[in-house]
Structures are given as structure tokens and as C-alpha cells.
């Protein structure tokens, strides 16, 4: 055991872990963070706090994570390479750890072009792999990236994202390997709709024995409507949504679509549970956090084990 | 006030448009005498600067007349010319001048009637726009550059 992370403990116990996420508000409204995370209470082992997701300015993930931590819950602080150089990253990591935040996720970040500040200069001083490596060395070697010793090193449980669906597909397992090499502890995948392709990727992962070196949490997103499915298929980069998903949603009335979406999410979890190497689920109910407990319960992942 | 008689320059390619203009003549089809032709071997020779200079020194409108699409004697000179005309249109827009003062038309050698029709239409367009850059101010002591 490297860290105090609740997620690490669950995973170490061999139980399937469950995480979800909470997008911070676009304003100084701590109550919003509280409302959202309260919905997830008891049903998840960690709450991802996104970092200016889709390149829209939001409350910093550091601040929102602190609020969640102060509620007694377990935030997973996300950090993107887009907005900070290595100095800012490291100071925030120390700061967060000082508030008891012990789990984080290292990401490249969506390109600023899509956000509300397309004119912004992306920092990209280091990339997500280099970030993983930096955080690991801060923890294990107790040194800053520049080489100096840290007095009071942050012991972060380090996560990263993986998108099994982006291409080139053959690179996707290798990229995972690279992140493992850099020192990642757990992986949350992109939302999985194309289960066949995910299985193929997982086979690549297990064939190389990578599932032994990292915990993989499968990304699950319930579709609210067929419109959302279409939007994700056509507009969100790196998404793989088979036509069968859209057809199935089209097959039911508009009122029934949310329920059908949840049903589909639960079915996915059931199927993914059978896949070797999957150690948990990351449920991203986008602006629909209230449904997470229902999915967790219906998927037989409730109650959460105590660690 | 006198009616405004625009002065128009037409750069015509030897093989198509210039021949079409001759054809209009031999058929005695009249078109406004405002249009004066400068012959070029191919409209691909017509540079953006020729159009700009024409406007600068007194033309109220300038057009480039080449072969029909796909019929250019030199393969694609007319396509190049059209691109340059479009660039000049853009520049004129940026400068606050009417982009309609320049135009590209495409004619085959036999299209005498169409040549005349084009000349008439373009002259009318320019007549409506009024005097061009070189005419507005009546500056004549401008130093040559």
C-alpha cells in the first residue's frame, strides 16, 4: 500500500471499485459541489473532480476537491496538462495533498479550441505521461521534477485515462503500457458503448499482462436520450458509439429513453464484469448525477465495501 | 447633371473572348462603347495588379473575359484568372470599394451575342455603382509611384 487512498484500498482488496464524477460549477458556489457529491454518497469509492473540462472555465478542481474532502467523501482530483506548467502543477499537488487529497488523475486535457477561451494559449509544458511520472517521483523519490528534494512529499494514488476507441487502435494498448511504465496506478477508460471493441482492447491488455500492473476501471455513461447519443457519436472526439445503441434508443418513446439508457448502462456493467482484468467501474452520468446510485444498485455494486 | 458614363476595361483572351468580341462586331451586335478591350494571350496572364492599376488610374470597372470552363486554350489560365479576380474583389471589399467593380466572365469564341450581353450588363452594374476610385476626387496632381 503506497497511499491513504480509499480507492487504492478497495482495489487492493480485490473488490470491484466504483467511481463517479462531479463537474465543478462555473462560479463561486460551493453548495453546488456539495449537492452533487451528496448524491453520490455511499455509492462510490471516489469522486472525480474535473479540471476545466471541455476547456470551459470552472471552479478549480483543487478547490472543489477540498470541498468534497471536507464533506468526508473521497475526491479524485483531475489535472490537465493544458493549463499549468510543471511549477503550477507541483505546487497544486502539494497543496491538495496538504488538504488530504490523496488520489488524482493525470490528463492531457481537451484542446482549448472547443472551450470558451479558444484564443487561450495551451501550456502543454509536459504531457500526461510525463505528469504521471512526475507525480510518481514526487511520491516515491520525494523529489520535484527539477530534481530538488521535497520536504513532505505528496503521496498520491495516481490515475490516468485511456481511450480504447481512439485510433490508431493498435497504439492504445501500447499507450497504456507507456503510462504504466511512467508509474500510473489506475486507469479510468473512456465511456464504453462498443463493448466488442473494448473486449478486444482488454484482450490486448491481458495478453501483455498489463492488468496485473494497473487497475482498470471501465467507463460507463448512461444515455439520457437518443439526441445525446447522436451528439456524442458525431461531435465528441474519440467516441465510439455503434448504431445499435442509437437504434435501441430510437426504438422507445422519448419519455422512456432515460430509463432505457440506464438499463443499457446496467447491462453493460453486467457484461463488462465478465471481462478479465476489469477492476471496477467509472460511472460518468453527465449532469445526471442523481441516477448514479440507481445504476450502482441495479448493477449489483451496492452496498460498497467498507475499508 | 450629366448621366455618368463609366469607363470599363475588359482584358480578353486572344482565343475566346477577344474572338467573341470580334464576332459581336461582325454580327453588328451593339454593346456599350464604354467597354474597351485589352488583348492578352490568355487570361492567366492577367495579374491582380492589372485590375487594381486600372481602377487606380481611372477605370470605373474592370473585367476579365476568358474561355469557358474546361475550354481554356492553355488548360487552366481562366481558372487562375478567376482566382485572382476573386482576390481583388476581397481587397476591394476590405478597402470599402464595391467588389462588383471587377468581374470574371467566360465565353467561347463563337459567343458574340453573349459578349455583347456581358458588356451591357457589366456597364449597367458599374453605371449604378457610380464613378470608380480614380474618378471620385478628380485628383490629377498625384505623383506617379
Amino acid at each position: 500500500m503506497n497511499t491513504q487512498s480509499r480507492l487504492e484500498k478497495i482495489l487492493a482488496s480485490g473488490e470491484l471499485a466504483v467511481t463517479s464524477e462531479c463537474g465543478p460549477p462555473r462560479g463561486a458556489r460551493p453548495e453546488k459541489v456539495k449537492e452533487k457529491s451528496a448524491l453520490l454518497k455511499d455509492h462510490v469509492d471516489g469522486i472525480n473532480v474535473t479540471d476545466n473540462q471541455t476547456a470551459m472555465v470552472r471552479m478549480s478542481s483543487f478547490a472543489a476537491a477540498v470541498i468534497i474532502k471536507q464533506m468526508g467523501l473521497d475526491p479524485i482530483m483531475q489535472m490537465v496538462a493544458r493549463d499549468r506548467n510543471r511549477l503550477a502543477m507541483q505546487s497544486d499537488i502539494i497543496g491538495a495533498y496538504a488538504f488530504g487529497i490523496n488520489t488524482m488523475l493525470c490528463l492531457s486535457g481537451d484542446h482549448a479550441k472547443f472551450g470558451d477561451h479558444p484564443m487561450a494559449k495551451g501550456v502543454f509544458d509536459i504531457d500526461s505521461v510525463q505528469m504521471i511520472n512526475m507525480v510518481r517521483r514526487m511520491r516515491d523519490d520525494e523529489t520535484f521534477q527539477g530534481g530538488a528534494k521535497i520536504d513532505g512529499a505528496p503521496k498520491m494514488f495516481i490515475g490516468a485515462a485511456a481511450n480504447p476507441f481512439a485510433d490508431p487502435f493498435e497504439l492504445r494498448v501500447m499507450r497504456l503500457a507507456k503510462k504504466i511504465k511512467a508509474g500510473v496506478d489506475f486507469i479510468q477508460t473512456q465511456c464504453i458503448f462498443n463493448l466488442d471493441k473494448f473486449e478486444e482492447w482488454m484482450k490486448g491488455v491481458t495478453d501483455r499482462g498489463l492488468d496485473k500492473k494497473v487497475h482498470i476501471l471501465a467507463g460507463i455513461t448512461p444515455m439520457k436520450s437518443v439526441g445525446m447519443a447522436r451528439y456524442m457519436k458525431n461531435k465528441v472526439p474519440g467516441m465510439d458509439i455503434p448504431d445499435t445503441v442509437i437504434k435501441r434508443l430510437e426504438g422507445v418513446s422519448k419519455q422512456q429513453q432515460p430509463e432505457e439508457g440506464i438499463k443499457m448502462a446496467v447491462e453493460s456493467i453486467e457484461r463488462i464484469k465478465q471481462i478479465k482484468g476489469v477492476h471496477g467501474f467509472h460511472i460518468m452520468a453527465i449532469e445526471w448525477e442523481e441516477k448514479v446510485p440507481q445504476i450502482v444498485e441495479q448493477a449489483g455494486l451496492y452496498p460498497r465495501p467498507k475499508v | 447633371m450629366e448621366t455618368f458614363e463609366p469607363e470599363i476595361v475588359a482584358f480578353c483572351c486572344h482565343y475566346c473572348a477577344y474572338t467573341a468580341a470580334d464576332m459581336a462586331g461582325s454580327k453588328r451586335i451593339s454593346y456599350p462603347s464604354n467597354v474597351k478591350i485589352i488583348r492578352v494571350p490568355c487570361t492567366g496572364k492577367v495579374d491582380a495588379i492589372h485590375l487594381m492599376k486600372a481602377l487606380e488610374i481611372g477605370a470605373d470597372g474592370v473585367y476579365v473575359a476568358g474561355c469557358l470552363a474546361g475550354d481554356c486554350h492553355f488548360k487552366n489560365g481562366n481558372v487562375r484568372a478567376e482566382a485572382r479576380v476573386n482576390r481583388v474583389k476581397k481587397m476591394l471589399t476590405e478597402l470599402g470599394w464595391e467588389p462588383e467593380r471587377v468581374a470574371m466572365v467566360k465565353l467561347s469564341a463563337g459567343m458574340g451575342e453573349q459578349f455583347a450581353e456581358t458588356a451591357r450588363k457589366f456597364t449597367e452594374t458599374i453605371r449604378k455603382l457610380g464613378p470608380g476610385p480614380g474618378k471620385r476626387t478628380g485628383i490629377d496632381d498625384r505623383a506617379a509611384s
Binding site: A81, R82, R86, S108, G109, D110, H111, K113, F114, G122, F124, D125, I126, D127, S128, V129, Q130, N133, M134, Q145, A161, A162, N163, A166, D167, P168, E170, L171, M174, R175, A177, K178, K181, A182, Q190, P237, G238, M239 | D47, A48, I49, M52, K53, L55, E56, M91, L92, E94, L95, G96, W97, P133, G134, R136, T137, I139, D141, R142, A143, S145
Partner: protein, 221 residues
């Protein structure tokens, strides 16, 4: 090659509004090749400025000259005979050229007429694409000859992000994913295994992080 694009006409017009005698200076190097500030563009801009002034009912005297290279003082010296006769200089060179001119002729205001864009390569007639960021520490040797700094929208050093779709970058289908290209190239070269080598965080000092770059060749200087 340094690429540039002409500035919006109104910006140039604003710059020169107070002046009536302009020296318009082109450059026969990069900006000629990228059709932004060569002899031809100098002529066009001069004509455009005349058209603008005619609209205002004013006159403007423009002297056109195109230097072999505006970023070399010896060539810039060729402007000396004309400089006293003008109120302002408009340079159609890249930023390097503008500054060389401005540095030499301190009494004349010097205005840029082009926006310097990037170091690029020609993809064919009229198309240029960014190829180098001048990072000062070239990695092309290990990335199959495709630069992740200049060509990946996020300057990623360790492979493609999750936004790639159909082999294109998430910023748009007109941009190739640099890492897809690198990967394909490495495969062609039989160097796939190199991909899993971790590339460490880059030292940005040679590329400008250490302040304005300067090269001094002692054998030549």
C-alpha cells in the same frame, strides 16, 4: 521557411493614416515564396493604399522597393537613400525584417504589413503548413521525422491523446494526428518498439524559455 500573411487592410491603413509619404519595402526571401510580401505583393498593396486614399479624397506617395533580404543589415542599408524622403516605412517582411529595418532607421516609424505566422513547408501551390516550432532540441530523430512539438496540437511527447478520430486531430479533420503519422512512420521503419520509450519532460530553454535566443559562431563572428 518563415511564413506570413498580409495583415487586414484596415490595420495597415490605420498605421499609415497620419502619413503621406510611405516607403513600402518587400523582401525577396521567405515572404516572397509564401506570396505575402514579395515584389508582386508590394505592388498590390501600394495600389490598394492608393485606392484607399482615393476614397478619402487624399493623396499618398508610395515608393516601392523590394530588398533581397530584410533581415540582413547590408541589404537594409539600400533603403538609406530613400528614408529621408518618407514619413514612414511599411515593411512586408517577417518580424525579423521589420525589426532590422526599424533598428537601422530609428527616426522613421516602421509598420508591419504582414503577420508572421510560423516556420512551415509548402504542401503545393498556395498551401503552407507549420512544421517547426524552433524548440531548440530536435526530437525528429526519434519520432520518425515528424515533429510532435509543431504538429501535435498539444505538443504531446508520448503518444496520441484520446481525441484522435479517423486518424485526425481532435481540433479538426483538416489536421492530421501527428502521433498517428509518427506511429505509421515508425512502423514503416520497423522502429515500433521505440514508441514505448518514455520521453521525459522537455527542456524548453533552447527554444526560448531561457530568454531571446542568440547564436554566436565564434569561428565566424
Amino acid at each position: 521557411m518563415i511564413t506570413a500573411e498580409q495583415k487586414p487592410m484596415q490595420e495597415i491603413i490605420q498605421y499609415i493614416a497620419p502619413y503621406s509619404k510611405i516607403l513600402l519595402v518587400g523582401c525577396n526571401e521567405c515572404v516572397t515564396v509564401c506570396a505575402a510580401g514579395g515584389r508582386k505583393e508590394v505592388g498590390l498593396l501600394a495600389s490598394a493604399l492608393h485606392l484607399n486614399h482615393l476614397k478619402q479624397g487624399k493623396t499618398i506617395d508610395i515608393k516601392e522597393i523590394t530588398l533581397e533580404r530584410q533581415c540582413d543589415p547590408e541589404y537594409v542599408e539600400e533603403l538609406a537613400p530613400y528614408i529621408d524622403g518618407v514619413d514612414a516605412v511599411v515593411s512586408m517582411a517577417c518580424g525579423c525584417g521589420v525589426q532590422t529595418v526599424a533598428g537601422r532607421y530609428k527616426k522613421s516609424p516602421v509598420f508591419p504589413a504582414v503577420n508572421t505566422r510560423f516556420m512551415g513547408a509548402s504542401l503545393g501551390q498556395g498551401v503552407w503548413a507549420e512544421r517547426c516550432k524552433g524548440c531548440g532540441d530536435c526530437v525528429l530523430g526519434i519520432t520518425g521525422g515528424i515533429c510532435p512539438v509543431a504538429r501535435c496540437s498539444k505538443h504531446l511527447f508520448n503518444g496520441p491523446c484520446g481525441g484522435t478520430s479517423n486518424g485526425q486531430c481532435e481540433i479538426g479533420p483538416e489536421t492530421d494526428c501527428a502521433w498517428r503519422l509518427i506511429w505509421e512512420r515508425l512502423k514503416e521503419l520497423g522502429m515500433e518498439d521505440r514508441y514505448e520509450d518514455l520521453m521525459n519532460a522537455k527542456d524548453w530553454r533552447p527554444g526560448g524559455a531561457a530568454g531571446p535566443g542568440k547564436i554566436i559562431r565564434e569561428d565566424l563572428a
